[in-house]
Amino acid sequence: MTAKSLFDKLWERHVVVEETADAPAVLFIDLHLVHEVTSPQAFSVLKDRGLKVRRPDLTIATLDHSTPTLPADEKGELPYATPEAKAQVETLIDNCKEHGITLFGLGDPRRGIVHVIGPELGLTQPGKTIVCGDSHTSTHGAFGALAFGIGTTEVGHVLATQCVLQRKPRSMRVRFEGAPAFGVTAKDLALATIAQIGADGGQGYAVEFAGPAIENLSMEGRMTLCNMSIEAGARFGMIAPDKTAFDWLKGRDYAPTDAAWDEAVSDWRALQTEEGAHFDKDVVVDAAAVKPMITFGVSPDAAAAVDGVQPSAADDDVAADYMQFEPDKPFSENAVHRVFIGSCTNSRLSDLRLAARVLRGRRVKDDVVALIVPGSEAVRREAEAEGLHKVFLDAGAEWREPGCSMCIAMNGDAGAPGDLVVSTSNRNFMGRQGKGVRTVLASPATAAASAIEGRIADPRPYLKDPAERFDVV
């Protein structure tokens, strides 16, 4: 019998109709996550065609992209960026009501960024197929799920049929050899990997991350890494489920209980990639050589160690022209105007703890605006229970309501033209965080250190105890 990979097994379990020369496979979807931005036009198609949502029981919605991160005013009105943003939120509320879809909406203690709440509620589980009209759906692959972003037409397909049409992509394994050094986080591993294989290096592939550094990585770190798969062009990123994943999921709201839990775990254990399984491409990343990373261009593969210098560029280099980083100048000599700690990449409790570890007892540099946005209401509650918000507020940072915020900057949270923003989000595209804003991607530790120094800063001097290395990762 041919040895199978995690991906092969996930795929086989969900094929409703096999692919042929003429048509892609019909793939069943176990969990459809919906948010306000990419769904309204899909619901309109259902309405136009007189169709119903086939499986509202497998569909979960939340509000995250367009929602303000500032609280409601005295009249209870939320400060939406535009009337359109408010209308978009209301449209999802109406659509969920009409179709009987569970919505973790405004005021709900379970609301948050779609890729943060799926795992934290235990909706995300090994062995599931998970889709969402959002490219960072690969985040859920950290649990050994087949999770991928889809377009709005496909959102309509899943609403109407609970299936997508998909040809099986090629497979790639990225093995991380060696142990990450002190001060190196999953975000740094992700940026180093993207720099190594390129922003299109994973295009057409389903990627499995493996190797000793992954086995030792926390669940939150695994989510950060899988989240960034799409920044290397890979729609699917995944990690074989193990004890770390099972321990993390146990007891969560939607996780199985009692005998069903034991049964599920033994089923999930069988998902591991078998020895000798075929991959179309193999990549090895030397995890031990990775340093804290930052980006210096307008594509996530323009990444380098934070203690490095700006590479020289061709005269017509759009990225160099936009970023205004002088060639051969140390990155650390670039003044920072804003810092954003949040997004589906780095807004979980562990990220906030790491940022707090750097900021505790210190001050954000004068004139630097530091925005800290928890990924969900649950993360906010847990962070506040630990007093992390006080650490941030005492340091002079802003502590906001959960949401996507400055990662996509469509809710009014944005930088000003020319600002240099050190951001824990996932994309450094031109204008991503506001018109003319220059984005430097980094880990929460690097972002926090940069907030203190008012320039791009190496976090390692702020993380003193080398014994806590794995806590950092």
């Binding site: 198609v45 889809i150 709005t152 397909h157 049929t161």
Partner: protein, 193 residues
């Protein structure tokens, strides 16, 4: 969603040679608060076409072309990378484009474009270079024969996923095909419960 069936097209090209043109360039996120898919052409490449005061930039190639005669976008490698927003192909289609040619086009963008009458065409490096170096060239893209022909007679073939090709030729969305699988879907659901 309806779009014109795509069979063959002869049109001039617009060249945007930059690599990694992401979906935030194609349509900035602040235009995504819409609940409609109509009229997004005015937001296409908005920050490339307009300055901070909303005035058209003379430097933008896109401002100098007639969408009626320039329906083919030629772009640098890794076109359409980034988010899954289908607003990107909606905006390009509404602007007037019917095809995008590059050496390399992102997966989700490709999937979305094919469902909206916008043909993504991936060509070899040599053809790509020829196209990048001849903005305004009248190219012929034939989906029946899966060929691209340049004015100098240079011709190359391209791949398209066969099912998506059929949908484009017929001008239909694949939802009908999926709805026809209902009995298989029911059987699958029954087998799991």
């Amino acid at each position: 969603m309806s779009f014109e069936p795509f069979t063959a097209l002869t049109s001039q090209t617009v060249v945007l040679a930059k690599d990694n043109i992401d979906t935030d360039q194609i349509i900035p996120a602040r235009f995504l608060t819409t609940t409609s898919r109509e009229g997004l052409g005015r937001s296409a490449f908005y920050d490339w076409r307009y300055d901070d005061q909303g005035r058209a930039r003379n430097s933008s190639t896109l401002n100098g072309v007639d969408p009626q005669t320039h329906k083919v976008l030629v772009a640098g490698a890794n076109f359409g990378c980034g988010s899954s927003r289908e607003h990107a192909p909606w905006a390009l289609y509404d602007f007037g484009f019917r095809a995008v040619i590059s050496s390399d086009i992102a997966d989700i963008f490709t999937s979305n474009a094919l469902k909206n009458g916008l043909l993504p065409v991936v060509v070899d490096a040599k053809t790509h270079q020829k196209l990048l170096q001849s903005p305004g060239a009248a190219v012929t893209i034939d989906l029946q024969t899966q060929t691209v022909r340049l004015p100098d007679g240079w011709q190359t073939v391209f791949e398209v996923e066969p099912f998506a090709r059929r949908c484009l030729l017929d001008g239909v969305d694949p939802l009908g095909h999926l709805l026809n699988q209902t009995s298989a879907i029911e059987a699958f659901e029954d087998g799991r419960s």
